[in-house]
């Protein structure tokens, strides 16, 4: 049954946009948690910890995101869990985002001059306390611009969740195309919606980047 592209389709696309945003936020939470460990390990003095971080990042970044999504989608069902695509997507994105965020944050940590660490050490703080009170506040200011930049990447990447059946904006676009046979208009609309999410964030990260350069 072919029907005309109507306002109701736009409405459903907008609804699916919520899931795009939702998945992005989930990926940020999961990826953020993983990223903290990756960053902390990667900036540690212990070469074993650094090695673990390096192997993790290298492996995750050397495999396409589609690969990770499929591995978790099929892998999880093997372990006996027949969970909705949302879960496979969240796990896959968290692993993926964790590596990239970890690298960004490690870069920010490592950019803090050694003298700051020494200052913390000289007033008796241990490694965790140094991180918490001296280093991380400064690292956050350094990392915020590239992190916002990565959020844009994440929003675009959620489009791949469509491939494992998760109904976010791109999948909804495929479904709408199937029922209206207007792929050009539909995907143009979909692109427009992604653009309206991503472009403001891109501009914001540019503003942040300029501020960061002024500080350093």
């Amino acid at each position: 049954m072919i029907r005309e592209l109507a306002l109701v389709d736009v409405y459903f696309l907008l609804l699916a946009l919520r899931w795009t945003i939702g998945l992005t936020l989930l990926a940020l939470l999961g990826g953020g948690a993983v990223g903290l460990f990756v960053a902390a390990f990667g900036a540690a003095r212990n070469p074993v910890l650094r090695g673990v971080a390096m192997v993790y990042v290298g492996t995750v970044q050397g495999i396409p995101l589609l690969g990770w999504l499929f591995i978790f989608y099929f892998g999880l069902s093997i372990i006996g869990y027949n969970l909705p695509p949302l879960v496979a997507a969240t796990v896959g994105f968290s692993i993926y985002a964790g590596a990239f965020l970890g690298e960004i944050w490690r870069g920010a940590l490592v950019a803090i001059p050694k003298t700051q660490w020494e200052a913390g050490l000289s007033i008796g703080l241990n490694y965790i306390e140094q991180l918490r009170h001296v280093i991380i506040p400064q690292a956050v200011r350094m990392a915020i611009a590239p992190t916002v930049g990565f959020v844009v990447q994440l929003i675009k990447n959620t489009s791949l969740a469509a491939v494992i059946g998760f109904v976010e904006l791109t999948r909804e676009g495929q479904l709408t195309t199937a029922s209206t046979f207007q792929p050009f208009s539909v995907y143009l609309l979909v692109a427009l919606m992604y653009f309206s999410l991503c472009y403001p964030l891109t501009q914001y990260s540019r503003v942040l980047e300029r501020k960061r350069r002024v500080l350093h």
Partner: protein, 220 residues
């Protein structure tokens, strides 16, 4: 867990895998070659162009960089026929990937051009060189050298991103996965093997770019 991993079945599909690797490499190579050229052209437009050219280039870069690759691919492969342009799978894949890479490369090269110190340009101007001469002899090589790491990372990312063309049934490495999957029903093993192969390709590419740097930019 009562599941037994059966990787042997997957390894038996050597030919399908090899064909897939070949297509992925070819697609990546052609895209990188074309995308790199487009990127330089667009970067030059962004930095040196007249107002209208700069705006055009900026719109291109922003639209591509703020929309997902898969949507661009679908628009080209599924959408264009709606306005009379029908492309085959390979052409559509190449077109989408090249347009995509061109925009990302343009931003990187632009940053490279702007990283060349103004004093270098002044030296060229003071010798009486024209802008195009200054770009070719004073700016281009130092600019590319400065952004080489970012550029080569982007190219490796591109190779991984080619996996998306599997979604329009282009016969790349990732698509080989669905073929083998339908033959062996070993979903998990299939995609694990394919992912490891991508990892090998990544390592090879990174090594290749490292070698290239020494060949091109290191003094004899």
């Amino acid at each position: 867990m009562s599941y037994r991993f059966q990787f042997r079945d997957v390894f038996a599909q050597k030919e399908a895998i090899a064909d897939g690797v070949l297509v992925t490499l070819q697609l990546s190579a052609v895209t990188i070659g074309l995308g790199f050229l487009i990127g330089i052209l667009v970067a030059v437009s962004l930095v040196y162009g007249e107002r209208w050219l700069r705006s055009l280039a900026r719109v291109y870069v922003e639209v591509i960089r703020n929309t997902p690759l898969i949507v661009q691919l679908f628009l080209i492969f599924f959408g264009l026929p709606g306005i009379g342009i029908r492309l085959d799978v390979m052409t559509a894949s190449l077109l989408a990937l090249t347009i995509n890479l061109g925009a990302y490369t343009a931003e990187i090269v632009r940053a490279g051009i702007e990283s060349v110190p103004k004093s270098q340009i002044e030296a060229g101007v003071s010798l009486g060189m024209t802008q195009p001469q200054i770009f070719r002899h004073v700016v281009l090589i130092p600019a590319l050298k400065n952004v080489y790491p970012a550029l080569s990372s982007q190219f490796v990312l591109l190779m991984l991103a080619t996996s998306v063309v599997s979604q329009i049934s282009a016969a790349d490495l990732f698509h080989a996965g669905s073929i083998i999957q339908s033959r062996t029903f070993r979903d998990f093993e299939v995609y694990t093997v394919i992912s490891v192969l991508y990892l090998c390709l990544t390592l090879l590419m990174r090594g290749g770019f490292g070698l290239l740097y020494h060949l091109v930019f290191r003094r004899k």
